[in-house]
Structures are given as structure tokens and as C-alpha cells.
Subunit: 398 residues, 2 copies
């Protein structure tokens, strides 16, 4: 081979066969194209399709009937076809936010072939894009120092298995080798896993950006798998390439909460932590908020900062565990030790709103202090990113 051909050859065939073909297809269409006026144009080449739509969380919700009652899902907008068979749709002007979307081509949900950025939410993959602005800037990768993200296995004696967690260490951890850090334990919801906060929650970007701004203390953030019946996220365990599901045993049965000190002990052994209550926080969304509430109450000298994001409060019917016994007494004990922060946040359309309201009434009656944030919308990742961004600056400031 002539040397002058080498670069061309490397460009063309140093990848899998499918990629080769993709490279030699006609120029792919640009999608999503974020326009200067913050409208977004989506395109897909589909000359043979009869009908192409787009669904995403930037479209108004519509109400549908489900086995569990009515619920709101994003509407679908129609794309129109040009003479070359390229379908397109331009959105209204969008506010700064991280959005997700999928195409629907002749009834099939299709990810955007021009956009490699996907997030998995349980068994569903959707494309993402970001409209830049002050509200979304924390979710972007910006030109600031970046922390390290590790997928790590620890041994759980209580659950008798190895389990996977994500650990974030802040920028500088590798260079400031005598510095010790506070720790936030950040928990996912039902059906989620140790990959949820770093992907759907943009936790890595939020931490990098807020720490770099000086508004948030450099901290270690630990995101363990909170499903006691799973060792890890789907595909990362000996179960193989299974279909992700929420239909798991041992969910909210007290075992994850009971075993939690093993995680704290592993982190304190392997990272340069400040291993005391004043330098530990725990927070989570939905089931993870439920875990945060019950773990912090069960081990009242462990955490000084507690965050409940759209949290479930009440154990489900039939859940029997010492962790769930004597709720009011344990809460009284925890509160008597004056935690630095109890933070509660929920959307005004969240199906757990009523339960949270009852819990706040209980706190009010007992004059237990807490910080409360209420946002619009329901039980969605947009809110959990907002709550994390709001919660982090309050930590480790005592």
C-alpha cells in the first residue's frame, strides 16, 4: 500500500463493518439542529416512510389511560417530508434545559440516527440534547476541572454478594493527596441503578460545575445500586444482557437500608473521607428518597444532611423490617440530634405530593426544622436535576 493511501484507509476501515457502511452512506442529515432563536430542527432521512412523528419532553403533555389510571405523556408532533425524502420538524422556542426525544416512524419508536447521545431510563432509550442557558449550564460539560467517575465493586456481607456502585471524586483529588473530603450518598429510584444519576441525572456535570463555581464544597459522591435483588446495572452482572425491569423482589423491604453501613465503611476505607456525621450527607429520588429517610433515621448519628427528592415516605403494604418500626420514635431521636439539614423537594403534580404534605405536617406539628422546595411538574428527571443543583450548595457549610 502506498503511504499516501494509509490515512485514507485508516479513516475508512479501522472500525466495525457496520460503521464502515455508515461512513460511506450519503452525508447524514444534521439533527438535532439547535437554532439561534432556541427553536430546534429535527431531521431524519426516510424516503419510504408514510408517517414520521417525534415525541419528547419538550412537547406539551397529553393525558392517556393506563392500567394504573390516567397519566400524562408527551404529545407527538408530525414531521413533514421534502422532495429528497428527508422529514423535518422545528420545535417552538425552548427554554434552557436538557430534553429527550424519539422519532416514531410508521409506528415504530426510532432513535435519531444522527445523534449518538442516548440515555437509558430502565428499558427505554431516548436521545438527548441541551438548550444552553443559565438553568441548563450546570448540566453541560464546561471548561472546568473534571472529577473522576469510577464503577466500583464492594463486598456486601449482609447481602452476601459483590455489588456495584458509582463513585465521583472531585477534580484535584489525584493532586491534593493529603486533603480529606466530605461524602454525599446519592440514591436512585425504583428501576434505576448506579448508572442513573451520572447519566439521566447529569450528576457528574452538576458537581464539576458547581464545585468549580466555588458555591459547592469539593466532595466525594457515592451512588450505589439500591435494588437489593440486583448486584449491578443491567448488563454488568452475571445475569447477562437481560431486559431491564422494575419487577424486582426485595424492593423497599428494608434490606438495602439495613446493609447501608457496609457502603459507608467501604468508602471510608478506600477514599480520603472525613468520616464523621458533620461530613456525611444522604439524598435520593423517589425510592432513593425513601431510602435516605429510613437509613438516616435508622442510623441517626451517621448523616448531618438529608435530602428527600420526590420521596416515597410510607413503607408499602406488607413490608416488614425492623428499619420501618417505630417511625415516630426514630424520627424524634434523629431530630433530637439536630441534623444540619433536612431538605424536602417535590413537584406540584407529583403523585407523591399528598404523602409528602402529610409528612411535612408531621414535621410542622413537632416543630422539626426542614427546608422545602416546590416546583412545577411531576415525578420526572428534570425536577431531580433541579433539586440536586439546589441541594448541593447547602451541604457541609455548618
Amino acid at each position: 500500500m502506498k503511504k499516501s493511501l494509509l490515512i485514507a484507509s485508516l479513516l475508512s476501515v479501522s472500525f466495525g463493518a457496520t460503521a464502515q457502511q455508515a461512513l460511506w452512506d450519503k452525508t447524514p442529515v444534521a439533527s438535532p439542529q439547535i437554532n439561534p432563536d432556541t427553536t430546534v430542527t429535527f431531521r431524519i432521512s426516510a424516503p419510504g416512510a408514510l408517517k414520521v412523528g417525534i415525541t419528547g419532553d419538550f412537547l406539551s403533555p397529553k393525558t392517556i389511560e393506563t392500567p394504573f389510571g390516567t397519566n400524562q405523556v408527551p404529545d407527538t408532533a408530525a414531521l413533514t417530508k421534502d422532495s429528497l425524502g428527508v422529514w423535518s420538524y422545528t420545535s417552538p422556542r425552548l427554554k434552557p434545559e436538557l430534553y429527550n426525544y424519539s422519532f416514531v416512524v410508521d409506528g415504530i419508536k426510532v432513535n435519531d440516527p444522527s445523534n449518538v447521545y442516548l440515555v437509558r431510563d430502565i428499558a427505554s432509550l431516548t436521545n438527548i440534547f441541551i438548550i444552553d442557558g443559565p438553568e441548563s449550564r450546570p448540566y453541560e460539560v464546561t471548561d472546568v476541572p473534571h472529577g473522576t467517575v469510577s464503577k466500583q465493586w464492594y463486598k456486601s456481607a449482609y447481602l452476601n454478594e459483590a455489588r456495584r456502585m458509582t463513585v465521583y471524586t472531585p477534580a484535584g483529588y489525584e493532586y491534593n493527596v493529603s486533603r480529606h473530603y466530605p461524602v454525599l450518598y446519592l440514591l436512585h429510584g425504583m428501576g434505576g441503578d448506579e448508572d442513573a444519576w451520572p447519566t439521566l441525572g447529569r450528576a457528574t456535570q452538576i458537581l464539576d460545575n458547581l464545585i468549580a463555581s466555588g458555591r459547592v464544597q469539593p466532595m466525594i459522591v457515592v451512588m450505589p445500586n439500591g435494588n437489593a435483588a440486583l448486584q449491578s446495572a443491567p448488563g454488568e452482572s452475571p445475569d447477562g444482557l437481560t431486559v431491564p425491569t422494575t419487577q424486582l423482589p426485595k424492593t423497599m423491604d428494608g434490606s438495602f437500608e439495613t446493609a447501608f453501613p457496609e457502603i459507608v465503611s467501604f468508602i471510608d476505607s478506600n477514599y480520603r473521607t472525613i468520616p464523621d456525621k458533620a461530613h456525611r450527607a444522604i439524598a435520593g429520588l423517589s425510592m432513593g428518597g425513601f431510602h435516605s429517610l429510613h437509613i438516616s433515621k435508622q442510623y441517626p448519628t451517621m448523616f448531618d444532611y438529608i435530602g428527600l427528592f420526590s420521596a416515597a415516605i410510607t413503607p408499602r403494604d406488607g413490608a416488614v423490617s425492623p428499619v420501618y418500626e417505630d417511625f415516630d420514635q426514630k424520627l424524634a431521636k434523629q431530630m433530637s440530634l439536630s441534623p444540619a439539614l433536612l431538605y424536602i423537594a417535590i413537584g406540584d403534580k407529583d403523585f407523591l405530593y399528598g404523602e409528602n404534605k402529610l409528612f411535612r405536617l408531621k414535621l410542622d406539628r413537632k416543630k422539626y426544622p426542614y427546608v422545602y422546595r416546590e416546583t412545577s411538574d411531576g415525578h420526572i428527571w428534570k425536577n431531580w436535576r433541579i433539586y440536586l443543583t439546589d441541594f448541593l450548595p447547602m451541604l457541609f457549610k455548618k
Copy 2:
């Protein structure tokens, strides 16, 4: 809300709106379904589609014309539609291997909606599945202790920026805190990045499995980004959610090779390494093999084990760098220091086969020892997984 409804509610709405809708669709079809006879049935529900095909690396290749000459790509097989609008195709019996595939629905490449497992190869996403057997077992997550995988940033003074790498530490690293480990530096090809070996290359699984078998020494494996013009994989840098491309400046211009000792220094400072030549290896595929050749030759006292997987050998036209000068003299110097292993592997249909043959002739003429492996097929990930699996047991055995 009644408590008995809580679990149902959490199951149904503790995720993004798109996922909610996906959960309430009719039961998704099972795909891919690996049958006991090792045929595989693929299914997609597409009542409105006129034509559905499947393409993947388990199908025989066909020859196509490209701007760079003829090349082989996988063929496409047709699915057939049943009365419910579900299209299906059953493959021939497949040998144990990790395979990739995509559907083609009315001309559009579509990922399998029933399979959340995708790998990205530059700008192309394909679904994967594994046929179990002795040859593919190293690529599976099995019930063995797992190593930790970290996405980490280091400072490059030479390139004047922070850069991202993947670091694998073997199972037990967190528990055997006085043990020090040898290090393999494992480099990707052009268009790849620090995510390529852990995803397409199944490096994490291969290492976990071979180390657990006792055939491979526990080692640290460092997978840096090898494109000097990029700080990181797409989407992980301040460049934003860009379209991945191979059209990068500074490719194979000597700068990555020149700066390489910074990476070794960072690793030796932050991990429990054995920081000497006898406990360092470097290997890579394609451009990464080229890097391994030229880095190990430029710094001849740094690495005792060198692996060239489908490697480019000759600098491209116009590449001017001190690294590429005096090839024969530097090679002679390196060989005079008796490296423990020079390993060369390539497929018999690889476009770099001829160049590797010339390099081997040079080694033969000078009586420089090396180990050579030749496989079938071309410049594809299947071969690189095979070479890594073959290469690892030879390391750190001197």
C-alpha cells in the same frame, strides 16, 4: 393515596415520561432470542412497514464500491411479517462470539427497540448480543470478582489541557492495600477514544475473567484518549454533544507519542504500580498499535512488553516528528535492551497485512525475536478482542 397503590405507582411513574409510555405499550416482542441450537430470532413490531431487513456481522459479507475502493460490509437479510405486524428473522446457527446488528426499516437503520444494549463505534450505534461458548466466555460478565473502571482526568503539560483516560484496577485492589501491580497501557484506533476498549473491546470482562482464571496476572490497565486533538470521548468535553468523527487534526503527528511519559507518571503517582520496565506493557489496535510501536521505541527503557494488533507501522506522508526519525536505529536500540515480548497479530484480510509483512521481514533479517499470530478476517473488533485475550497471558511472566 392508599398505601396498596404506592408500589404500583412507583412502578409506573418513577421515570421519565417516555419510559412511562414505553411501559404501558403492549408487551414488547422478545428480541434477540437466542435459541438452544444457537440460531437467533430477531423480532420487531412494525405493522406499517413495507420492508424490514437486518444487517450485522453474523451475516456473510458482500463487496461494495466505496470512495476508497471496494470494501466488504455485512449483507442484509429480510424479515417476514406475521398477521400481528411483527416481523421476524431467524439466523443460521452461530458460533460463540459477540455480534452486532441493526434493523433496516423501509430504508432507515433502526436499533432493536427490545434490546437496550448498544455499542458506539465512532458515529454508529449498533445492538449487540453474545452466543455463549468457550470462545466468547471471556467477553461475558461471569460470576467472578470484578475490577473497578474509572473515567479519570489527568493534566498534560505538553498538550496544555486536561485529558480523559479509562483506568481498570483488578478485583482485590481495594482490599489488598499493600499490593503493587504491573501496568498495561492499552491504546485505541483512529476515531476511537478512551471508551472504545471497555465497550467494543470488552476489555473489562476479558480482564476480570482471565485474571480470575489464574492465567493472567492481576494488573492495572490504562486506556487513555489517543487523539491529541481531543480531550476526551465525544460528549465528555466542553465541545458539547458533537457528531463523532475521524476527521481530526494532530492524528499520528507524534504529539501523543511525545507526551506519553506524562501518562505513565500520572499513573505511577496515583496507583500502586510497580514502576519499572519489567512491569509495564503497551499495546494497541491500528493507530494504537502504531502508537505502541513508536512510543516503546522512543522510550526504550519504559516497556518490556509490546503488542501490535493490526497495527499501522509507517508514519503517514507529511508527518514530521522527532519520534518518527531514525526508525531503524531506535528499533536496534530497543531490541538491544531485550524486551520480554514483541507481539504482532493481524488478520489475513487486513488492509495493513502487507505493511506488517514488511515489518516482520525487517525483524527477521535482524533476527529480532517476536511472537506472531495470524487470524482470518480483516480490520475488525472481533480480531482485537481475540488478540487481547491471546496477549494478556504472556504479560509479566519474566
